[in-house]
């Protein structure tokens, strides 16, 4: 399954099929987590460097128990900046609204759950890049609207005359 | 530049109100067309 973020709704919808296309029973989180052997999850990121402040964190297998994703500014997780409840038995979680900076993620180490630590850098596009594209768009849009209105009014006058 | 609460709630409320008016406008127009036999 290709992993595309951004506007790729259709691929995302396809993901949705695979994620949801299992019997209801499969979505029941196991309650017997404590008795199970430790599961080591492999975390991966959709990108190492997010330019938009959103990204997808994926695990390599369906969660066996209720899990929490932890976020920290340092690799040793000395201070936990935020925690996100993992939703259902999905193998992905999309996080959004991050400012510039380095972020580390891992699954909260509890009985039966451990994972690797992944690192992500959020680096938004520079203001000049954003504004230059914005003003190019604005210019082109103005040209279009002015052309349309001028031509429409001129044609109307000709038709009336 | 963070959008403030006032601006945010105004935006949402105004849009919600406008959207809620839409069915009334459409039904009103339909009734007008229907009564004057201008539907089709």
């Amino acid at each position: 399954m290709p992993k595309l973020d951004g506007l790729s709704i259709h691929i995302a919808l396809l993901l949705l099929i695979t994620l949801l296309a299992r019997p209801a029973a499969a979505q029941q989180a196991s309650t017997a987590a404590e008795t199970q052997p430790n599961t080591d999850y492999q975390l991966t990121l959709s990108t190492e460097r997010s330019r938009e402040g959103y990204f997808v964190v994926a695990i390599d297998q369906a969660p066996q128990t209720k899990m929490v994703l932890q976020q920290s500014a340092s690799a040793d997780f000395s201070a936990i900046a935020a925690e996100f409840d993992w939703f259902g038995d999905f193998t992905e979680i999309t996080l959004t609204g991050f400012s510039d900076g380095e972020y580390y993620f891992r699954l909260k180490p509890v009985a039966g759950v451990s994972s690797n630590v992944v690192q992500l850098r959020v680096e938004h596009y520079s203001q000049w890049q954003a504004y230059s594209l914005f003003f190019i768009g604005l210019f082109l849009f103005s040209v279009l609207v002015i052309t349309l209105i001028t031509l429409h009014l001129r044609t109307r006058r000709q038709e009336v005359a | 530049m963070i959008m403030g609460l006032t601006a945010f709630s105004t935006l949402v409320w105004v849009c919600l109100a406008l959207t809620a008016c839409a069915p009334l406008i459409l039904l009103g127009l339909w009734l007008k067309d229907f009564l004057s036999k201008q539907l089709w």
């Binding site: 951004g6 709704i9 259709h10 691929i11 995302a12 919808l13 396809l14 993901l15 949705l16 099929i17 949801l20 296309a21 209801a24 029973a25 979505q27 029941q28 939703f87 193998t91 992905e92 979680i93 999309t94 959004t96 609204g97 991050f98 596009y125 203001q127 890049q129 594209l133 914005f134 190019i136 768009g137 604005l138 082109l140 849009f141 279009l144 052309t147 031509l151 429409h152 044609t155 | 530049m1 963070i2 959008m3 609460l5 945010f8 949402v12 409320w13 849009c15 919600l16 406008l18 959207t19 809620a20 839409a22 069915p23 459409l26 339909w30 067309d33 229907f34 201008q38 539907l39 089709w40």
Partner: protein, 479 residues
């Protein structure tokens, strides 16, 4: 969905809703189709659609799965600018209003957007245009069919193939019986359902989690989403607008409506349709901002809307989401089926393969092509190919190249077919190059810039003066 205990609806309830929808729509289509005597009746609803139905169909068709699924997605990703930027797609409808009036006046006997390109710019431009149209129409058709299957599966666990086949069968069914008349009449009802459903969901959400708490949570933990200077969101803004403009300006979905509307209705209808549509993406979008507050972090961003709705409203929410999204899908799918089959019947069959075909023959062929399109779409949807679904993703590069050739073609005598063809072809190519080398947020923009530059150059160097009368093609008397 919150309790990870399976699906929001039971399979039998999902299936019942689908069957109920199917019976009602198809019966309605059959009822409306009884009056269709000629091909013109079938394809263009007798060219006499009144203001109310016209405005509703313009609005409803533009409310696709995009408005109900992508508006929340973009809000989740780009914050406030995501939903505001998405609502600017209404500009497509609003700016099409003068064009629609002009189209109706120039081509009182026209059938399709392909007709216009062929008569105005000749064969070469027509070929480029048809390729763009077909790529776009099929990408959209297939994605709508797939979305239907996915929706049903997501909400009720019903097999993907059942949902996908059901929505195609229903839409093909009533379009086949009723033609454009059925499409427009069902659009009116679907528009009402969509708006009421969306307002209900938003209202309950505000009632449950106040706007204050949503704002507070986002401000402290995801401040970027409220940032009005969010770079990626600013970059994406105009690209999205040009994508929307390109979709509407070129597609026969909108042209055939302009031609079907009564007399002077076209201008008013598109204007009102656009204004009614404008606030909807904000209403569907802002609910995504409640996700962090509710502790919902979706697996993929496009699921955030339905997930929040189901969380807040529970089972009723799931039923409302189902009905709203199903209506949104159907109102676009039927329009696309009708408009694309018109394009096939009129542009390819009648004007290219069988110029001598009689009116009854065309009416029959139009029905066959709806059926054919339905079957081909079904076949494409069957294996759920990702690459085809991704078609729409870079469709912006294709459609944005048609904006200037269409606008100038309608108002300017000087632009020639060679330049129009080059503008569309090179615009599309540069848009695609931009998409793959720079990013999705430049595809439509780049395509439109190149196309506009070529058109401008064409205007400056041209000595041609197109005779508008050539657009008013008289129909050959048919037996």
């Amino acid at each position: 969905m919150n309790e990870v205990s399976g699906f929001a609806l039971s399979s039998s309830l999902g299936l019942t809703l689908v069957v109920l929808f199917g019976i009602v729509w198809i019966a309605f289509g059959w009822y409306l189709g009884r009056a269709n005597k000629t091909h013109e009746d079938f394809a263009l609803a007798g060219r006499n659609v009144g203001f109310a139905l016209a405005a509703a169909t313009a609005m409803a068709t533009w409310v696709t799965s995009n408005t109900t699924l992508v508006a929340p997605q973009l809000t989740y990703q780009f914050g406030v600018w995501g939903m505001v930027g998405y609502s600017f797609a209404a500009l497509g409808l609003i700016l099409f209003a003068p064009l629609a009036a002009r189209i109706k006046r120039l081509m009182p006997n026209g059938y399709t957007s392909g007709d216009f390109i062929r008569l105005r710019y000749g064969r070469a431009a027509w070929w480029v245009f048809i390729i763009i149209s077909v790529v776009y129409a099929f990408g959209w058709l297939v994605s709508l069919g797939m979305a239907g299957g996915i929706l049903l599966e997501a909400l009720s666990g019903l097999d993907y193939h059942i949902g996908m086949s059901a929505i195609l069968l229903i839409c093909v069914g009533y379009t086949l019986f009723g033609g454009l008349r059925a499409v427009i009449a069902t659009d009116f009802i679907q528009a009402l359902i969509i708006i009421v459903g969306v307002v209900l969901i938003a209202w309950f959400l505000i009632d449950t989690v106040s706007l204050e708490s949503i704002h507070q949570e986002v401000k402290s933990n995801h401040p970027q989403l409220l940032d009005l200077l969010f770079p990626a969101a600013i970059m994406f803004l105009f690209n999205n607008i040009f994508f929307g403009l390109g979709e509407i300006f070129h597609s026969n979905v909108w042209w055939s409506r302009a031609l079907a509307f009564k007399g002077k209705v076209a201008f008013k209808a598109y204007l009102l349709g656009g204004l009614l549509w404008l606030p909807i993406p904000i209403v569907t979008g802002f609910i995504a901002l409640a996700a962090p507050q509710l502790g919902i972090f979706p697996p993929s961003a496009d699921m955030v809307g339905p997930m929040v709705a189901a969380e807040v409203l529970g089972k009723i929410g799931a039923v409302v989401v189902f009905i709203v999204v199903f209506s949104a899908l159907a109102s676009s799918l039927d329009s696309l089926l009708a408009a694309t089959s018109d394009l096939v019947t009129r542009d390819i069959y009648h004007k290219y393969l069988k110029p001598q075909a009689s009116d009854q023959h065309l009416l029959r062929f139009n029905r066959y092509s709806i059926l054919g399109l339905g079957i081909v779409t079904w076949l494409f949807c069957l294996p759920q190919i990702a690459t085809l679904g991704a078609l729409l993703n870079f469709a912006g590069a294709f459609v944005a190249s048609t904006i200037f050739p269409v606008v100038l073609g309608l108002y300017q005598r000087k632009l020639t077919g060679t330049y129009a063809a080059a503008a569309m072809a090179l615009g599309t190519l540069s848009g695609l190059v931009g998409y793959f080398t720079i990013g999705f947020y430049v595809a439509a923009l780049l395509s439109c810039i190149v196309s506009a530059a070529l058109c401008g150059f064409g205007l400056l160097t041209s000595q041609a003066r197109f005779d508008w009368q050539q657009l008013n093609e008289k129909e050959e008397p048919t037996s």
